[in-house]
Symmetry: C2
Subunit: 174 residues, 2 copies
DNA sequence: TGCAATGTAAAACGATCGTTTTACATTATG
DNA sequence: CATAATGTAAAACGATCGTTTTACATTGCA
C-alpha cells in the first residue's frame, strides 16, 4: 500500500469520526505516523485530501453495493454500517461543511450521488423486470433515510428500511 | 425581538447555509450588525450559540409538524423545504461536525430526535387507530430520507416519500 | 442632572490553523 | 562509492480563529 493510499485511509477515518473542523493536519500526521512534509508532498493540501477521501470512499462504497436486487442492496447497507459505523453520509456532510463552495468537493459529491441513483434505478429494474423511476426514487429515499436515521436509531433502522422497500416493491410487481 | 433572538436567527441562517467551519464570529457580527462585544455578552461563546441555534430550530420545526396524519406530516415537510431550503438535517450536521464531543450540542440533537420520533409515533397512531412502532420506524426512515435526498434531488423527493408512506400505511390498515 | 445600562468601534490577545522551510537521516540504485 | 530520492524532526511562517479589552457614545430612568 503506497503512502498516498495510506494517508487517504487515515484521513477518511479521522474526518468521518471527528469531523473536518476538529481534524487538523497535525492530528493526521500523528495518526499516520508521518511528517508534515511527507503529508503535503503526497496530498497537496487539506482540500485536495478531502476530495481524495471522497473519491476513494465512493470507489469502496459503490463496490459494496454491486448487487442484483433491492433486498441485497439493503443487506449491503447493513453490512456497511456494521463495519464502518453510522455517522451519516460523509459526502453530504462534506458538502455541507464546506458550504458547497469548494468545486472539487462539490463535484465529487455530485458524481457519487449520481452513481448511487443510477445503481438504485438498475437494481429496481432488475427486481421488477422493467424500469420504474418513481419506485426507484422511493427506494433512494429509504436508502438515504436508513443511512441517516441509523445515526441515532442504530443499525436496526436499516432493517426497517429493508422491510419497507420489500413492501413497496411487492406492490409494484405485476 | 430581543438581541439574543436576533443573533440566534442570524447565526442559524449562516451556519445552515455555509457550515460552521466557514462561519466565523466576525461574519456573524457583520451580518447581524452588532459589535463583537455585544455578541459575546448575549451568546457567551460560539459553542453556546450553536446549541442555542439548535434549541430554537427545534422549537420552530416541531411547531411546524404539529399535525394529525402522516400525509399532513409530509405536507409539512414539503412546506419546510420550500421555505427553508434543503441542506440536510442541521442537527445531525452539527453533531457530526463537532464529532459528538460537545455535550450541550449532543444533548440538543438527542432531544430533538427523541421528540421527532415521538411525534411520528403519535401521528402513525392517529392515522392507524393503534400504535405501530414498526411502521413508525419506517415512516421515520422516509422522513429522514426525504430530508437528505432533497439536498440533491430537490423538493420533489418529499413527494416521493409522501407517496411511499401512503402505500405503507394503506397496507398496515385493518 | 447624574448614573447605570447598553451599545459601537477597533485594537489586541494568545491559540491554533494550514503550510513551508531548514537541517539531517536513511535507503535504493547506477 | 556516489547520488538522487524519500523519509523524519522540528522550527517557523503568516493568516485566521474565538475571545477580551480599551475607549467612547447613546440612552433610559431615579
Amino acid at each position: 500500500m503506497d503512502m498516498t493510499s495510506k494517508l487517504t485511509a487515515v484521513a477518511e477515518r479521522l474526518f468521518d469520526r471527528h469531523g473536518y473542523m476538529a481534524t487538523g493536519m497535525d492530528r493526521l500526521t500523528e495518526a499516520a505516523g508521518v511528517s508534515s512534509r511527507t503529508l503535503y508532498k503526497h496530498v497537496g493540501s487539506k482540500t485536495e485530501l478531502m476530495a481524495r477521501v471522497l473519491t476513494e470512499r465512493d470507489r469502496r462504497f459503490m463496490a459494496r453495493i454491486e448487487v442484483r436486487s433491492v433486498d441485497a442492496l439493503f443487506a449491503a447497507l447493513e453490512d456497511w454500517v456494521r463495519v464502518e459505523g453510522c455517522r451519516g453520509c460523509l459526502f453530504l456532510r462534506t458538502r455541507a461543511e464546506t458550504g458547497g463552495d469548494t468545486p472539487e468537493i462539490a463535484e465529487a459529491v455530485s458524481l457519487h450521488k449520481e452513481a448511487l441513483q443510477q445503481r438504485i434505478r438498475e437494481v429496481v429494474a432488475m427486481d421488477l423486470g422493467r424500469e420504474d423511476l418513481a419506485l426507484a426514487e422511493q427506494v433512494l429515499v429509504l436508502f438515504e433515510g436508513a443511512t441517516h436515521a441509523a445515526v441515532y436509531r442504530g443499525a436496526q433502522t436499516v432493517s426497517a428500511a429493508r422491510a419497507a422497500a420489500f413492501t413497496l416493491l411487492e406492490r409494484a410487481r405485476p
